[in-house]
């Protein structure tokens, strides 16, 4: 059983990291978003492996069901970015690579491998915090953060609407046929008039 879990974990980890690499390197931004979804999924599977089923399901619900859809919509609303020919990285992207690699080294070598974690002894019967306890915690000791988070969400909701909202008056209205004909008529009239006035001005 342990070997099975280990194999599952290694596969999931490899897939997560590969998907992450695809997210940052792939040219087409839509593909990047889809790879991000894949990465979210495998992270959710890792949560399930760690018996945090509530978090796993919330991860799927929020990240896959909401955020990635939002991202896809945003990409499709800003249409010019999906072009394949456009350069996707900065010219000095290698600096970012060095920074990221250095950070990885800093994180890995001293902290991860040279530290003894006080992991619970295996085989011990330990109670895992359940969903009910999370709910109780939100209503008791984490009530203030919970309320702050809800206010944050409300603020984000209103802020997103305010930022992205386009006044209806400024939006280009779809014209009816009658209006289009009228506009064309007016444009033609102005075109017909314009050269004559211009000519009269120059003659004077």
């Amino acid at each position: 059983m342990n070997i099975l879990i280990m194999v599952i974990f290694v596969v999931l980890a490899a897939f997560t990291l590969a998907a992450g690499v695809m997210v940052v390197t792939v040219k087409n931004i839509i593909h990047a978003a889809l790879w991000l979804i894949a990465s979210f999924f495998s992270v959710a599977a890792m949560y399930l492996l760690m018996e945090a089923e509530f978090i796993a399901i919330v991860q799927v619900l929020v990240y896959v069901g909401a955020i990635s859809i939002l991202v896809l919509f945003a990409i499709m609303l800003t249409r010019h970015v999906t072009g394949e020919g456009v350069r996707q990285l900065y010219k000095r992207w290698w600096i970012a690579l060095i920074v990221a690699a250095a950070l990885f080294g800093v994180l890995i070598v001293p902290t991860v491998f040279n530290y003894e974690w006080a992991v619970q002894p295996s085989g011990a019967q330990i109670s895992i915090a359940s969903t009910v306890e999370i709910g109780t915690a939100f209503m008791r000791e984490y009530l203030l953060p919970f309320e702050v988070a809800s206010v944050l969400l409300l603020v984000a909701l209103i802020g997103a609407i305010v930022i992205a909202f386009e006044e209806r008056s400024t939006r280009r209205r779809v014209l009816t046929l009658a209006e289009e004909v009228e506009q064309r008529r007016q444009r033609n009239e102005s075109l017909r008039l314009a050269p004559t006035t211009h000519a009269s001005e120059t003659s004077e």
Binding site: L97, A149, A156
Partner: protein, 107 residues
Amino acid sequence: MNMVDAVPLPWVLAVAAGLFCIGLFGALSRRNTVGILLGVELMLNAVNLNLIAFWRYLEPNVVAGQVFALFIITVAAAEAAVGLAMIIAIYRTRLTVNADEVDSLKG
């Protein structure tokens, strides 16, 4: 028959660190603001993975780890909403989403 026995904690932490660094690279090197946002989301995921790993391996009977993960998911959702709204607003006025082309405050 659980993950604690099968996989050592440093492995999970290494995966989280790798994911974080990949996200960082993406956020730093992408020109596209949506791409930057995707990198930030990867970083937040890595943080969440760390939190859940610490919760499960060190203190599974305390809810704090899961609660903080939930808060981070909330913040990520808010960040994505506001960030994408800003991207759309910028696109509407400047017809670009590339971060290096939106530099009118540079002087």
